[in-house]
Symmetry: C2
Subunit: 137 residues, 2 copies
Amino acid sequence: MEKRDIVHLLHQQNFRLTREREALLDLLMRTEKMHTAAEWHALAQREHVRVGLTTVYRLLEVLTKVGLATPFLVDGSVYYAFCSGQHHHHFVCLHCHRVEDLYECPVFQHLPEGCEVRHHKVDLFGICPACHAADAP
Amino acid sequence: MEKRDIVHLLHQQNFRLTREREALLDLLMRTEKMHTAAEWHALAQREHVRVGLTTVYRLLEVLTKVGLATPFLVDGSVYYAFCSGQHHHHFVCLHCHRVEDLYECPVFQHLPEGCEVRHHKVDLFGICPACHAADAP
DNA sequence: TTATCTGCAAAAGGTTTGCAACTGA
DNA sequence: TCAGTTGCAAACCTTTTGCAGATAA
């Protein structure tokens, strides 16, 4: 999804693109990893983007609401990754926390009779090539 | 998984089956829904099982560790469901929070080159037959 | 112009920890 | 016997909220 589409999507739902949100959004869009709210905040600060932790939480909430971010519960912590609005699944590296999007959807069979699936998540956890190369556990 | 197998599994890892744990385990085993720690605690109390909330947290931690419980992040809260140790996926009813185990594993294709999958989750969210019948949203 | 957003500080909520007493194996 | 467990209270962390000032649109 292009940045202008994202801005359009946010505007459609009465969300504003402030200086703070734009900087955070840029950071999220070019970071292919999941991070906790606190980590995103720290990453922003490292780039001299001045935003409060509260603002980070609020943007993550907005993005999750419009389908541009996904929360993962890993080892008791909540991580967020930016993702295209399109429906897809994930491959999450347990070592570096990189998140790969999978656009091919597995086929579901053998559902309990009568279950209506509203949405589903397929999350794969493992070790990505880069970590393998770096001799990760 | 039979109860005695569960007990065996816990003993193997130096966990003890106390009166409190056994009562909680019985509750978990016969409840086909996911609940938050606080909810499990309340359910136990309703059955006059006297356990502290701390003990509930500690048992959920132990069960998760040995693969007998799964945490779900739904709407910002962490829910736990009991599950057999065997690898499987879930169908989670968004309305009544019932959790159905799916033992058929979807086929994964189109993984990013070189990714090593350590474990994966396929979680389906929707409305179960019972809720449908009760005219759920 | 005004509804939305921001940062701060405080509050809230959920989870973990320390500890003394207890208990399963 | 003694390593593991319990409940309580306190500590801890993460997340949310209230509010006054700032700012997109």
